[in-house]
Amino acid sequence: MKAKALALAAAALIAFGLKQHYAGARADDLAWILGPTATLVGAMTDATFRWQPQEGYFSRERLFLIEKSCAGINFMLAAFGMLVIATLPRVGSGASAARVVGVSLLASYAAAVMVNAVRIAIAMWLAAHPVTPLSAADMHRVEGIVVYFGGLVLLYELAQRVDRRAARVATR
């Protein structure tokens, strides 16, 4: 019980710290997440993104800027909280609490980069192929909601599978 509370408190502190960092950050401060995202979007779309100081990653040929609001920090926070809660039953000691929080943080970072890259790649395609009666802004919003929520569901399913497999291995 104490270890679970410790894990939750550590997760809340990390989430709060990340949110504070994001609130005051400029694009330069978010290079740790914008950089890998821009690389992945470039690989998916064949676009070349170049770093623009204080702005983000810009693709001249697509006229598309990956900037602070595209960083996917909110997705990362949602994924982190979800993973910590989903794996909380595995916490039984201080060490397992640290493991759950650490692995959840790394997994939420990796998921944020991947899911956000998919979201941006689809947004770039939609910007070039306007196909719906919705306005471009509404379409962008709906696409973001579908991709982020879908990403959270997939991540949760993956975590459940890994957790079940780990439990099977542990009982052998």
Binding site: K19, N74, F75, L77, A78, A79, G81, M82, I85, A86, D138, R141, V142, I145, V146, Y148, F149, G150, L152, V153, L155, Y156
Partner: protein
């Protein structure tokens, strides 16, 4: 309860945690931080509330259709 309704209820139970996490970060946190309750925010909130629920129901419908076509 019909089989379709049971499938939808199961899907909502299965996605409850991702849905709660998503709503928390997109709605509860901004509201707790005192976001301005403007028309733009209410429009955003309506989309955030409706789109995931619609996606779950649609996914169930596609799944049921696939099963029916398989016989």
């Amino acid at each position: 309860m019909s089989r379709a309704m049971q499938a939808v209820a199961r899907a909502f139970r299965r996605t409850a945690l991702p849905l709660a996490s998503y709503y928390a970060i997109t709605l509860a946190v901004p509201l707790a931080n005192g976001v301005e309750r403007s028309d733009a925010f209410f429009k955003h909130a309506a989309l955030v509330l409706v789109v995931p629920v619609t996606a779950i129901v649609l996914a169930c419908a596609v799944n049921a259709l696939k099963r029916a076509l398989r016989g």
